[in-house]
Amino acid sequence: MGDVGIRIENLRKRYGEGDTAVDALKDVNMTVAPGEVVGLIGPSGSGKSTLLKCLGAVIEPSAGRMTLGDELIFDDGWKIPDLRALRRDRIGFIFQAPYLIPFLDVTDNVALLPMLAGQRNGAARRRATDLLEALDVGHRSHAQPAELSGGEQQRVAIARALANQPPVILADEPTAPLDSERALAVIRTLNRMAEQYRTAIIVVTHDEKIIPTFRRIYQIRDGKTYEEAGEGRAIA
């Protein structure tokens, strides 16, 4: 893995055409180093989700460049053929709601990703168990998702995002449903994981409780990014 976690240059995204076209992203520039957790904030409709979708390779940007790890994935067009494999192997997703698969137990929710990537069931489950232990939900590894508390579910979702050791994790409002203690615990976990696995993490958030924890923050307003220094407050 190189020195670049995520680099976005002059990214633009226009929805639709003609009179009804919406320029959701006009000029987005961002870099996130491996092992760094960066906050992305901005008012509603400013383009945060659009940016995550571009980075997550589920919608196609209109122009610009995106680099993940040391690979240029977009340069006025996709540079890699299999976006599905890209999402599976190189990007971890964490959502506002955990969106665990309800018919798989906790271990298999996490193990599913390595399995999809072709790992054997045994190895995938061992990987899942290790991650769940590291996230303090090891004791719930055989529970069904519906039997977990919200905080536990979110930690399982983090384990799932880490399962294939992606260089990048995209988190969309990961703390919204949690109280401040749990929200801070999630951020602490993300920081620890970023450090441990050299993962570049972008956290989209409105959450006043966690904004002070970021060392670096990108503001997005009207489709443009502005870099700011964060408070970088240590988390107890």
């Binding site: 989700s49 995550l52 979708k53 997550g56 589920v58 919608i59 599905r84 494999a85 999402r87 599976r88 192997d89 997703f93 959502f95 506002q96 969106y99 698969i101 309800p102 018919f103 798989l104 298999d108 193990a111 599913l112 990703l113 399995m115 999809l116 990537a117 069931n121 069904q144 799932r160 969309d172």
Partner: protein, 397 residues
Amino acid sequence: MISLAGRDILHSWPRFVLTGMGLGLLIGVTLSMAGIYRGMVDDARALIDNSNAALWVVQQGTQGPYAESSSLRDDAYRSIRGMPGVAAAANVTYFTMQVGRGSEDIRAMVVGIEPGGPGEPGYLVDGRHITRSHYEAVADLKTGFRLGDRIRIRRHEFVVVGLTRRMVSSGGDPMVFIPLKDAQEAQFLKDNDAIISERARTAANPAFNRPGVPGLLDAIQASQASNRSVNAVLVQLREGHAPESVAAPIRRWKHLEVFTRVQMEEILVAKLIATSARQIAMFLVILAVVSAAIVAFIIYTMTLGKIREIAVLKLIGTRNRTIAGMILQQALGLGLIGFVVGKTVATLWAPIFPKYVLLETGDALRGLVAVVLICAIASTLAIRVALKVDPAAAIGG
């Protein structure tokens, strides 16, 4: 890789099992319908096999004696017996009527046979064949009669001396065999009032009641009272004679219709039960459509309930093929549960049907293939929905 379909089925098994059972009852009805048709065909074959004949000689221009009524003189068999290739020929009568058992009535086909001749049941499960020429009977088990019971047919009582199995008419009514003479009498017997009024009518006719011709009226009345008709002559062949080569001269010289076994089967299976078969085929088509609709609806709603999960699965890199496979497997799983339930209930309830229900393994296999195909087709709707799910939806707004 784990089976996503299997896990989902295990997770929501009550829904699967209940739907599978509902579908299973439908499949059970479908298999039973096919079984009823097979039973009808088998009854027809049994009727032909058990008549112990190679040729059926019937009234000219008819397709008797089972599919149409046929009547011929009861001395026709004598001359047929003399034809080349004929080993034995015997009169038979068939008529369906209510016979009495104690105080109740049973619908049965009464067969008049000549003891020892063609037409006699080939195999008895109990008792013996008819040996006397009057008032003995061999009854099918399905009539409910036992050895020694008395059967009331019109004015006479018959003692059951033997029992058969699977001897039924093409309409499914069990058979009762009685001596030919008794059967003729029962079939054509007139009641006393009818005889008296007919005599009076004949006596009033000046053509029959002529002065100066003594005995004419009596002779005419005697000939009217006795009945000398039968429904068919059954013929057995000598070895080495082809049925058609024996049938042709009888047709030509005796002015009678003759059917071979193959032709008889054609009449019974292709013509007599053709309407019922079409009726059943209609039902099968409707049941197939209803089953497909049920599977499609269930799988579709289950898929709609999983749109979120499908979006997440796609976002984290699950192939479309895997997702389509998951839905297809669920549809097939539902079909398999339904088939097992259907086969089981069809087997359980077959014996309590009044008519013979023949569940053939071949039909079950064809049914299984149909279920698999129907489920696969029914799942396409849900698969299309799932494939259209946008992985971006998982990220939300």
